[in-house]
Symmetry: C2
Subunit: 725 residues, 2 copies
Amino acid sequence: MEFGSFLVSLGTSAVIFVVLMLLFTWLSRKSGNVSIYYPNRIIKGLEPWEGTSLTRNPFAWMREAFTSSEQDIVNVSGVDTAVHFVFLSTVLGIFACSGLLLLPTLLPIAATDHNIKTRVKNGTDTTSKGTFSQLDNLSMANITKKSPRLWAFLGAVYWVSLVTYFFLWKAYKHVSTLRAQALMSADVKPEQFAILVRDMPSPPDGQTQKEFIDSYFREIYPETFYRSLVMTENSKVNKIWEKLEGYKKKLARAEAISAATNNRPTNKTGMCGLVGKKVDSIEYYTELINESVAKLETEQKAVLAEKQQTAAVVFFTTRVAAASAAQSLHCQMVDKWTVTEAPEPRQLIWQNLNIKLFSRILRQYVIYFVVALTILFYMVPIAFVSAITTLKNLQKIIPFIKPVVDIAFIRTILESFLPQIALIVFLAMLPKLLLFLSKSEGIPSQSHVIRAASGKYFYFSVFNVFLGVTLAGTLFNTVKDIAKNPKLDMVINLLATSLPKSATFFLTYVALKFFIGYGLELSRIIPLIIFHLKKKYLCKTEAEVKEAWYPGDLSYQTRVPGDMLILTITFCYSVIAPLILVFGITYFSLGWLVLRNQALKVYVPSYESYGRMWPHIHQRILAALFLFQVLMFGYLGAKTFFYTALVIPLIITSLIFGYVCRQKFYGAFEHTALEVACRELKQSPDLDEIFRAYIPHSLSTHKAEEHEFKGAMSRYQDFNAISAA
Amino acid sequence: MEFGSFLVSLGTSAVIFVVLMLLFTWLSRKSGNVSIYYPNRIIKGLEPWEGTSLTRNPFAWMREAFTSSEQDIVNVSGVDTAVHFVFLSTVLGIFACSGLLLLPTLLPIAATDHNIKTRVKNGTDTTSKGTFSQLDNLSMANITKKSPRLWAFLGAVYWVSLVTYFFLWKAYKHVSTLRAQALMSADVKPEQFAILVRDMPSPPDGQTQKEFIDSYFREIYPETFYRSLVMTENSKVNKIWEKLEGYKKKLARAEAISAATNNRPTNKTGMCGLVGKKVDSIEYYTELINESVAKLETEQKAVLAEKQQTAAVVFFTTRVAAASAAQSLHCQMVDKWTVTEAPEPRQLIWQNLNIKLFSRILRQYVIYFVVALTILFYMVPIAFVSAITTLKNLQKIIPFIKPVVDIAFIRTILESFLPQIALIVFLAMLPKLLLFLSKSEGIPSQSHVIRAASGKYFYFSVFNVFLGVTLAGTLFNTVKDIAKNPKLDMVINLLATSLPKSATFFLTYVALKFFIGYGLELSRIIPLIIFHLKKKYLCKTEAEVKEAWYPGDLSYQTRVPGDMLILTITFCYSVIAPLILVFGITYFSLGWLVLRNQALKVYVPSYESYGRMWPHIHQRILAALFLFQVLMFGYLGAKTFFYTALVIPLIITSLIFGYVCRQKFYGAFEHTALEVACRELKQSPDLDEIFRAYIPHSLSTHKAEEHEFKGAMSRYQDFNAISAA
């Protein structure tokens, strides 16, 4: 790619971003769009606009983002979101500190050398003839072999690494404090009083599952056991309940139409309301609702009596008792009565709870295998895409596009964007599949599923996008050599030598991602259009309108690995082509700014895991650093630099640093520390309410005052009531 | 080695064993020896002889051993000893079941082939020319390459593996039950009410270490916390106390002499009582004792006030509370306030408790490194020993021994025993060093140190004795080839082809070990002689006599790895030279029998770890099986057997089996399961007595009624007294 097309790509992106930002300023001040640009504030019951927002200043939202504190984020969007900002600001800190030293030193050192010129002059550069650009002169590719200038690059590797250790350590400590503060909050949270028990053995004769659980836990915790909630097989009752809810919605819709038009609406009873007998909608749905309610009650009874499973949520009277119980081995046979902290009621995945320990382990390995296959399988099309998306190749393959391509403007645009767009579209297909696979592992909570999917997605993107694209050019030529004599050092060498050639590709990729991606994110053009279309043509009731603008959560399963990929790319090129640091800094500062706005005003988190994402983020940042160090080892070696071995202590330090962090911090993310759980509550908890929070909608009765939920639940013990008081 | 010398070696050993056994029968019936042959019964306060023992039947002890039940062993010698018998009988079961099928099938199959004859005839066997014997005809060495008879040997590998899985699974289950029963016993054991807390941070200003601990734990466990005992730096007070005890002994001795001879004994005050002023011993020691008591009291106060360390034993009012606390994370920073189950008072290693978490980890790795070096360093002398201990080599090196060696009888004896004796003497030097190294890791309990030392010793013996001796012959020739092109398959191949040559060596080694080793063990000749000498010339008081006959414990740190080595050898040769199974069976059945006698009557266990040795034993048996499978894979490959790959599923099965066992059982050995800890006690525990059990002798006051132990201990809380009642 030439320098010109790179600048055009950059310029176009920047213009699009500015346009989208102005659009956002204009649109967000229209009162009809308030539920698109401020949904989180509306749901929280806050005033959507606060004075300043209404000015015509297009940077007002930036000031708001800057002035908001971490505590604001925790209050409005929860600890998980605050942790994501710690991630963004930590990475920003790493890149800013690295750039501060690397940009003013390495760029002049690279620019004043003459490796590329010499090689081109001598005709020794056989692989990249003619494809170099002005940008390459600013990278390590321009340093001659064995040059003492390489000392500066070695020093830069040390500087980047040390800066990373420092920021990561500070961040882990900070997140740990954030988590502790949230867990020791004086508010009553149901999940802090409960544990999840799985792998229960079958009860002895004459006892129900419920009696068995109760007697088991009452014997161990005579004073702190409150009661238990046996998990049930709810698929059928859920279906009935969903139907009932659907009928209720349709009834409300029919009533709304009736009120608006003064005509009683009708519908047909057959397939999709298109065929069959015509009936009065209000009467028809009222009847259906009554039928369903009766059906639901019968099924509820059946579920509670007959469909008890081998898992339960067990409730305790204090937080310490629950936190301690969740960490203790209960049964001499470790694969029975396994316990974990209870997830929040809203993220409990009921259908996974009945899966036995060894079955879960087996599923996990099978799915790891499937994912590994997926990663390898996708390698082929990605390599194909990046191989054909140089225009020259494209012209060879599809000769009839030549006239179009010859137009200078189109040629430039295509050259700039085509490979990147292909890549982005390609990656958009995957997350759903990974979420599904992760859920199949038998994980009991939504947040855990998302962490698992995020990990898989990270490996996928690093392997396929980063390594795939980097190697694609040179791979096909050298794959035969490797196949003949596969050795690790050869792979590293290959990777290291092909890195600089892809630097410009990734500069463009990062720029595209932050300008276009964050522009769309901020302006919310697509949700806005969809909302207005729906509102105009489909929605009749309040509930339907709300459903149309409901913003969803921050979807960490793609957001984190996406940022991680940029992070990995920036790390790996930070010393080879230091200019990428500028792009990395822009990406993460724009990201911080836009997401701050979105977190405060738009997205509604769908769960709270108290920062359990952090250890994963930490480990992957460290993995990216590790990859960077190994590549630099290979690349300095390829430059036949004599002191390349000095990188090895750094690689070992990374491993030790990771180990120490894990030892010092990880335990507190896996479990709740008792010193945190023992803090006093604002008021003595309403245990019955805590218990009821775990009853799914489909099993709670519809009469407001009656929460009897018998059958699968243990009875309240007077004894416990006294000891809890 | 020739067949004749093998038989002579075997016969001599057997004769020695019979002689030693008869000696035992004769000596153990003399009443003067009762404290050597029945010390454990004496200490337990039982009658040393029970009727039948007094018969002249030399097999009476065997009948007693057979008729004793596992419960007897648990009662007399504890769970750890019972677990060791499970180990012995499990291995016996494995070998017996394997032998039942392998001996009648494989021996004829091997004997009727003719590989060795053919190769000798053809002169193709270049490495073992002339050294084969009749025994080799019964081994796999006699099977021709690619022979379909190899199917039988492949089948044998499967049979041995399946039998091992079956017995190991049964044994793990059984030991787990044994442990659970011991832990749920209704007797009060101090360690079940306590946890060990380490890595305490420094207390806030104005608080002592003790107040800090108490307030920390009282906040978390307001109802079940009893009190705490801060660890102190006792080296000085221990020295004073030991001196005091020494003076007391000397005073008692002086008084005994005075009573016996009616002369007041005298001694000199200088070095070793040899120089200096002559004084009256009784007066002199009385004065010294008074001085020391005063010194001790001053030092005790100083220790409790000033030498508090960052570790403590924390006591709870119930077993469940303690068991649960020992498993829970207490501090948000995982490297602070770390908790483990408290070891028994008698096995707590005070001087290790102050070592911090990361320092412990660092020490561990350093020591692993040192041990690895030791293993490699010892390789050289061991290889040297086994290289020169063939007589031919010996004659070459020391030619002047030729006339001695030429005498047929001496030649045979030397040929049979020399290499084995060299080996046994060599191995006797190591255990102390390994115990010292393991203790330096910072491990808090004696039993854990012994487990760690036992593990190191196991690796040492397998690597050095087994692999070292096996390879010694061929290694020197092929080491250059390996150094040129090191590949794992080559190492396996080398090992596999050199195995059969060493089979006879190991047959003799095992035989020597069980006949001589167990003969000496049973007859206790050496302790008997030492005891009688001491009693006659040194001991004056009751206490001194008791010290002279006190038998010590079973010393698992050498016993377990010793048995493990035999097990590994037997496993590895079980299919190659099935005859070794006979020797293995004899070793473990004789071992079971002799040790049963010793456990019931002789050894006094010095600690009780409730079978925590078992997971280590289990894992090492499995490792031996794994090694066996890998070697068979290599050896079948060396025989160019086409279906060798069929061993691979077996190797994978071993890994899965190990994983499943670990998942299912190990947790209950690492921690106490709460369902076990919650069993009712015979009587409500005397918490004060439990607390006092942890106060070391040197810190407890000498006035019988006064157990004030203030300073480092927290005060008793009325509140707790009520809740515990």
